[in-house]
């Protein structure tokens, strides 16, 4: 159990290191105060997972360090029952010239294991790490994945009562990652408390029981993971809006090298995208749950009168694979514009996609394809993320909608 009560932490930021001494001697304030954590309050019960999300610099790392006890709070108190092990220190203190086997004892002792516990767990640690004969080779010959496997294995066998998990799980191959996630779940189920800090919104929704959102060192939201992720998205969206007003009217997040070209897109420009947005109707942000009804909104402006305009979209996954595309021609909703007319087109659909990052490319053209007259083409106009599920979970990249029926043997025809 972790109890954090009214904890605040501030750092003194000195412009020069010598200012510390001068301040001491001159008794004059020569530092700026950075409030890293302000009045943070939470309670993490055994067997529960608390997620902590927030933007970069919101105070997540400081909070973790406070809970780990490597820095001390200015105000408030942190109470821990039992041993806290952080997965953020994976591999700290490994001596690269010694073998993995020889490193186990020291690393385990760092995490608070007694020599007897180490002896008892040594074989389990070696087995879980799947290092095989490499356990007797020097650690410097290990790949980063192997180092991480050994470190994780030691950390999880240290038998802590609280586990602090940073983004550490991003290392290692898929097989080992799954093994780690399973092991973390087992740990939770056996009554361990987990503090989970991540930018992976899907992992937060899947793993956590409750989640807090940090912003400028304060807890700005505390509640279910779904609500917290939505809140977080709105935070980011607000920030994006501020940035957007400085940008050109058509927004794009594609290749920064070709920023100007891609942001503006290409085409004859007779009709153009003036703006675009995406939001889930339930979440209100650009991170939606799989299956959530969502809207793509396009603001268009035509310079000339056009009798037949087609708006096309293509959703691509993070690898650039086409996932789904359609256009108003296929959907039999032809568009026509007067000269100078502005109009907003909303395309609404259930995002039946697997969790992950996606982009949407949009184009305005004539007829059913863009080959004859392309008015405006914008790659990666919208970026969005799918995290978590509404309805049953599934594997693969898209949701089909199966149903299961039971009939007597041989009666189905």
């Amino acid at each position: 159990m972790i109890t954090v009560e009214h904890v605040s932490k501030q750092y003194r930021v000195y412009r020069r290191h010598s200012d510390r001494l001068r301040e001491l001697l001159l008794r004059r304030k020569l530092h700026d105060v950075k409030l890293a954590i302000q009045e943070v309050d939470f309670k993490l019960e055994d067997g529960r997972v608390l997620g902590v999300i927030g933007r970069n610099g919101a105070g997540k790392s400081t909070l973790l360090k406070l809970v780990m006890g490597v820095i001390l709070p200015d105000q408030g108190s942190i109470t821990l029952s039992g041993r806290v092990t952080g997965l953020l220190e994976l591999g700290t203190g490994f001596n690269s010239d010694l073998s993995g086997y020889d490193n186990i004892a020291f690393n385990a002792a760092l995490l608070g294991m007694t020599p007897m516990e180490v002896e008892k767990q040594r074989q389990a640690i070696i087995d879980f790490s799947e290092l095989g004969a490499a356990i007797h080779h020097p650690v410097r010959t290990y790949s980063s994945g192997m180092t991480m496997r050994l470190a994780f294995s030691i950390a999880i066998h240290a038998n802590p009562s609280c586990l602090v998990v940073d983004e550490a799980l991003a290392v290692g191959d898929a097989h080992f990652q799954q093994k780690c996630v399973q092991r973390i779940k087992d740990f939770r189920d056996s009554g361990g408390a987990i503090l989970f800090v991540s930018h992976d919104m899907n992992a937060v929704k899947v793993l956590c029981d409750s989640t807090i959102v940090l912003e400028e060192g304060r807890t700005v939201f505390s509640g279910t993971p779904d609500d917290a992720v939505n809140y977080y998205n709105r935070l980011i969206a607000d920030m994006d809006k501020q940035e957007m007003s400085l940008e050109s009217p058509v927004r794009s997040l594609s290749d920064p090298l070709n920023e100007d070209v891609s942001r503006a897109g290409y085409g004859t420009g007779v009709i153009k995208f003036q703006g675009s947005s995406f939001r889930g109707l339930a979440s209100g942000g650009a991170i939606v749950s799989s299956g959530e009804i969502s809207e793509f909104v396009f603001d268009l402006r035509a310079q000339e009168a056009l009798a037949s305009v087609t708006l096309g979209i293509m959703i691509r996954d993070r690898l650039g694979q086409d996932i789904y595309g359609t256009n108003t021609f296929f959907l039999e909703r032809p568009l026509s514009f007067e000269a100078g007319e502005q109009r907003t087109i909303v395309i609404r659909m259930a995002i039946n996609l697997a969790p992950g990052h996606y982009t949407l490319t949009a184009a305005l053209h004539d007829g059913d394809n863009h080959l004859t007259h392309c008015y405006h083409w914008c790659d990666n106009l919208i970026e969005f993320e799918v995290a978590g599920y509404i309805g049953p979970r599934f594997g693969g990249i898209c949701r089909l909608e199966p149903s299961v029926h039971m009939v007597a043997a041989g009666r189905h025809d």
Binding site: R20, L72, N95, L111
Partner: protein, 256 residues
């Protein structure tokens, strides 16, 4: 205090120094042995002055020199390593909650063990030269503890100041170098002016170096009153510095 972890840090320090080296721990033996031999050969046989009333006769000055240099080296190295210990171990300290006192203590232990070991080696070499040794040798462990308690306290002063001023590292280097020449290690106490002789009463390094001289050079028993004074003073100084360390723990951890 987690003694198992403390011992791990001590072992780690030795293995860090010699891991990946072909001769490995043999260097732990070779380096001081060669060093001692060089002193004995050069100052005993070639250019050494003759000291009166020593056990060692022609090797008198060599024994005088080595029996002062070995404890001084441990003393100075303890202080300078303690001064930077929190910064040297920041990779661990910023990720795992470990007591600052323990991290500091492991340096003291490593240097004390090294000193005990080299003094043992030195004794063997002295015996090999058929120089007699005295019963005063039995007081060596206590003497080592006394000098290292003082080094511990002084090193913690450096370690705490280091947080406010990085220059302390360089300053400690300069101060220990100066200090070395202010202690009768290379020269004898009666070869310097009267005022410098009387100043030695206030020189903590002389408090213990003089006892090493008594034991190795003159075959005398150390002054037990002096030893007890050093022990009590050192222990009190360490207690005071550990308290100060806990008071400044907040700032130290922030600065890492």
């Amino acid at each position: 205090m987690n003694f198992a972890l403390l011992w791990h840090f001590v072992k780690q320090d030795f293995s860090d120094r010699y891991s990946g080296v072909a001769l490995g721990r043999a260097w732990l033996l070779l380096t001081p042995m060669l060093q001692i031999l060089i002193f004995i050969v050069i100052f005993g046989g070639l250019i050494g002055p003759r000291l009166p009333n020593t056990l060692a006769g022609e090797y008198g000055y060599s024994v005088y020199l080595v029996s002062g240099i070995l404890p001084w080296t441990a003393f100075a190295s303890t202080i300078s390593r303690l001064t930077t210990v929190f910064f040297d171990k920041r990779a661990i300290l910023s990720k795992v909650p470990i007591s600052l006192t323990m991290i500091a203590l492991h340096i003291v232990l490593v240097e004390s063990i090294t000193l005990g070991f080299t003094l043992g080696l030195f004794t063997l070499l002295v015996l090999a030269l058929s120089v007699p040794v005295s019963i005063g040798l039995l007081a060596l462990p206590l003497l080592i503890i006394c000098q290292q308690l003082m080094a511990f306290a002084l090193g913690l002063v450096g370690a705490i100041l280091m947080v406010f001023l990085r220059d302390v590292r360089e300053m400690v280097g300069v101060v220990t170098m100066l200090w070395f020449w202010m202690v009768p290690i290379v020269y004898t106490i009666d070869s310097v002016p009267q005022f410098m002789q009387s100043m030695q009463a206030f020189n903590p390094a002389w408090w213990f170096i003089s006892e090493y001289h008594q034991i190795f050079v003159y075959g005398a028993l150390p002054d037990m009153v002096n030893l007890l004074q050093m022990f009590a003073g050192g222990a009190m100084a360490v207690a005071g510095m550990v308290w100060l360390l806990s008071r400044s723990e907040h700032q130290i951890r922030d600065a890492l």
